[in-house]
Symmetry: D2
Subunit: 141 residues, 4 copies
């Protein structure tokens, strides 16, 4: 399992007249969280695209528990439960500064070869980054 | 069952450098679709808030089948499978002009009394609007 | 002089917690207005890019007179005072349905050859579209 | 004169299919910059609203020199040239990490009493925060 945490400050632009973070903006926070997670391992999504691999989103799920508010410094926890294959799945938990869980979600993305526009296996150097987090405990003698 | 269709033209602002509609922007298209659907029945969400009832989103699901592109005139089909109670659920299908299905999703919203900030039953005048679409066939003698 | 009018309905996503249209979103309404204006002449910006010419924005000015509000059906008047050269300038006026002027602005864009990434003269077929609106009155005998 | 610097990382959501930061999104970066500037002085805009004073934008100017790109860590320099009165003006310069100036702009905002919805003088505690930066050199004997 791989986990990572980052934070985003809610912008005025991201609120709506309900005084809440607009529900569609969590997708953007998830984006920040997963790219910061990759960056923490030494990989930027920008480089990945430069290498000819892009990662469009296949699926998004989002559950709204409490509202996010303007100027909140939200803490986002990203979890990868499985090694990437052709797909890579991230789970997210969003917390207020007082540790109230306000939102949970997940995104599934697919590795796409930009030349062929076809799904492709995660590049080896990407898999290698995650391997240490998924190595099975060796069975005792 | 209640169904309704509307359309949105993809703005440049809504694309990303992949040349696709940014995945988070479908939530905005869903918003347009469900408010246009309500409007078609003579109800605006704006009035609902003026009456002291708001409809925050509880859950969002979104499946990306094909990319939406700049300037596409997307057709969005909204379906309500059940009468609103404390909650109201909308299903969405997004089509390109050539009828290719590119995205499906759903949102569940909750009626909230703005005075108490508590969930509340859908107002009667809202239920009445939907009733004709959900009346059961009378059983034959 | 070339003028054109279009309208946009304010989305919930575009409001902020002040209950106003977020100030940055007028740039998006301007985009809709100028691309609808081009479309009215038979030109889509999408085609222009497909022909290898893009139109990045050089300058934006925006004056906020009254707030735009959720669900307002804003009417946007676009004016071109001069024939496009390497640059093209649009002026905008944004009105509420009751004809209150709420916002004025302008954008200057530059024609860029996508191969060379250099500014270029407006393509002839673009100029021809605008010519009827800028023909000088013939001098009397 | 008061100056402050902050930085924002360009999100994928903020790019468009040109591969640039969408021109309307600089307004959001300006928002981050001026609120971070206020925060550096011990004032949050959130508190200001809680005290019954809001700061809608009256005017926005924006000049695009070079494109911002995905994942750029943009440095934004905010400058206030004058003490706030009923209005407060911020100038902005946006730099890439290599110090290339890519964008300049300004916003003028107005202090509004939320009870009366009328313009009002900047609150004293706000003025006091800025005073040290605008004190005139004493004239020599």
């Amino acid at each position: 399992m791989f986990t990572f945490e980052t934070s985003v400050r809610v912008r005025y632009a991201e609120t709506d007249q309900m005084g809440y973070v607009y529900y569609g903006n969590y997708s953007m926070y998830y984006e920040v969280a997963r790219t910061d997670a990759l960056r923490s391992l030494g990989l930027t999504y920008k480089e990945l695209e430069a290498q000819g691999v892009m990662l469009p989103v296949l699926q998004l799920n989002c559950k709204y528990i409490r509202p996010g508010k303007y100027d909140d410094l939200l803490r986002i926890r990203v979890v990868m439960q499985e090694m990437p294959t052709k797909r890579i799945k991230f789970d997210y938990e969003v917390f207020r500064e007082d540790d109230t869980l306000i939102n949970i979600g997940s995104t599934t993305l697919v590795f796409v070869d930009m030349k062929t526009a076809k799904p492709t296996e995660a590049p080896d150097h990407v898999k290698e980054l995650f391997m240490p987090f998924f190595e099975k405990a060796e069975s005792p003698e």
